[in-house]
């Protein structure tokens, strides 16, 4: 069981680093925490080298809080800004090559299913728009066609943040970016529709303005993937550096974009719907007790 590794050997409590002890004692391993409690327990990502005020970093923090089962979750990332925070978290992280996330996740999930047939080991990909929809496009699509049971989350900052601001397939049409000196020539790729067509059983598009909703969406995507097949979340996570959004305005920008292009959208198959309603009904009952 994954909780073994977040248990301190008796007698060693005094000698372990303070932050580690806090994480084990108050962190989300083996117990449910609410995103609204963020800051009241040791968070899974504490420090990271992403830009100050980066909205993607905020989203990643909420993501870790929302995990239904952090002690049995493996996160897969790729070259891009997100992995800078992902690899600093207290959840195992795999980083392969640029764009290979969904192929690595396919192999990993299958290996875990062979080795632990009776346990849920959640595999979650978090990668940029470039990583998933440009360079890794074939691998992303095929993991969906093959109905691999893991969640893919696209942190869409509409640009290649990590290499300094080149256009991606997800950049809006017309926007002038590095390597698009005359403005981008084609529309944003419709990733959500592709995901539906390719066989995802749960699909959502969000602008992360509301932490409770982000958490619920992430939980739903992960739980559905466990039982039914691939799930996908398309999240707008602005790049304040490349799009020159002042730090204090990133939330306002997220709200604006929510109205314009990222209105909350959620779609799932009937069986996923039935399953999630049942899970959530039981959870509500638990809370009442």
């Amino acid at each position: 069981m994954g909780l073994e590794y977040v248990r301190i050997s008796p007698g060693f409590e005094k000698y372990m680093p303070r932050d580690y002890v806090d994480l084990v004692k108050y962190g989300p391993f083996g117990r449910k925490v609410d995103v609204m409690d963020m800051g009241q327990f040791k968070e899974l990502v504490e420090e990271h080298p992403m830009c100050a005020g980066c909205y993607m970093a905020y989203f990643i923090r909420v993501f870790y809080t929302a995990l239904p089962n952090p002690e049995d979750t493996i996160v897969i990332g790729t070259a891009g800004c997100a992995r800078l925070a992902l690899s600093q978290a207290a959840v195992p992280f795999i980083y392969g090559n640029y764009g290979d996330t969904n192929a690595v996740a396919s192999g990993l999930k299958r290996a875990l299913s062979i080795r632990f047939p009776d346990k849920h080991k959640d595999v979650v990909v978090i990668a940029g728009d470039g990583g998933l929809i440009d360079i890794g496009f074939g691998m992303t699509m095929h993991s969906w066609f093959r109905r691999e049971k893991f969640t893919t989350i696209m942190v869409d900052n509409e640009v290649y943040g990590n290499t300094g601001g080149q256009e991606s397939g997800m950049s809006p049409k017309g926007v002038q970016l590095k390597m698009a000196p005359l403005g981008k020539k084609f529309d944003k790729i419709n990733a959500v529709e592709l995901a539906k067509t390719a066989g995802c059983v749960y699909v959502a598009r969000i602008s992360p303005t509301n932490p409770k909703r982000i958490a619920k969406t992430i939980r739903r995507a992960i739980l559905a993937a466990r039982h039914f097949g691939p799930t996908f979340i398309h999240a707008y996570t602005s790049c304040n550096i490349e799009y020159s959004i002042p730090t204090r305005e990133v939330l306002a920008d997220a709200r604006k974009r929510e109205k314009q292009d990222f209105k909350f959208y959620e779609w799932m198959t009937d069986e996923v719907k039935e399953f999630l309603e049942e899970v959530e009904r039981k959870e509500k009952q638990e809370v009442k007790k």
Partner: protein, 389 residues
Amino acid sequence: MPEQRVVEPDYLLLEAPREKKFITGSQAFAEAVKRANVDVAIAYPITPQSETMHLVGDLYAQGYVKDYYRAEEEYGAMSAIAGAVRGGARAFTATSGPGLLRGLEAIVSWPGHRIPAVLGVMTRVVNAPLSIQPDNVEISYLLNSGLVVLHAENQQDVFDFTLAGFVISEKVDVYLPVVVATEGFFVTHAKGYVELPPEDMKLPPRDPYKAPVPPTDCEIPPARIQRDAPVQKSNFMSYLIHAVWQQEVWSANRRAAKWIKHYLGGLIEVVNPDAEVFVVASGCAAAQGREAQRYATMEGLNVGLIKVKSLRPFPVDEIREALKNAKAVIVPEHNIVGWLAKEVKAAIPNSGIVVDGPRVYGGMTLPVELIMEEIYKAFGIKKEKKVVV
């Protein structure tokens, strides 16, 4: 499928009774996989590799392999192998020429991730113009990436190297991917005699916790290489960690030598160690070199053969020792760049005695006569060109 009983690797590889079968190289790969207790095999078609992975798919259908699928392309296949192995599974795949190059970025990242997998490489032309013939220039791309690279001469080698490859790659002091290369068609699609241990025996399952880098399965703390990726540290730390890690990968590669000796009888095979002139060759060229050595002996010429089984780790000391009294060294190869000749030259102090060739490329066969011509030259014999029989 017969019930398979787990036996110790040393028993299966070195002691178990063997039965002689007349099979193709592709079948030899599959026979090894059959006995290797493989969890996951992931395939993408390319001639001349496809048949091997068809046969492995058949093993999956029969229950010998636990999971199998046709990947989207080689990059996806090689990345998924990395994922499966990091999840603790034992994995096999194979490819050829252009497929190898397409998957190369993923493949060359395996050693650094400490991925113990076995990769069959059935060589094929990669340069334009298009051809599907078994040129082996692609092996040169693998030599500088930290993988253990074995080069099989025939169907028997394919079987032995592949089965032993799983065992060697999972040794704690090695823990690297093992490539078993052989010439496509010449070996994969031709039959040869292969001594096979019983098919109702298999290797013990992989124990992913017996490892210098543990699996990523949430059962134990994550490896620090994943948690604290070097690239995030200061430049100095980043350089240092990366440099140290590369050194460790290459040390592990060298440590594979003792296991190759143990399971495969050495990194090289020497025929007629007291010769004045040697043919040094690997893979199919070694088979042609063997013939040349035989003809030369029949003609009363003192010629020896060094077959190089392991290209990485490269048997520098063994080759230097075996060639210490040699007057000429002929290195026949199935490629235009002459990667083996370069390696041999670098291994000995008097590289001037190395003859660059003969070489055939584009997948042509390597006539024994070409090697004989070099042998005559080395002995100063002037001969009419004629077919040797």
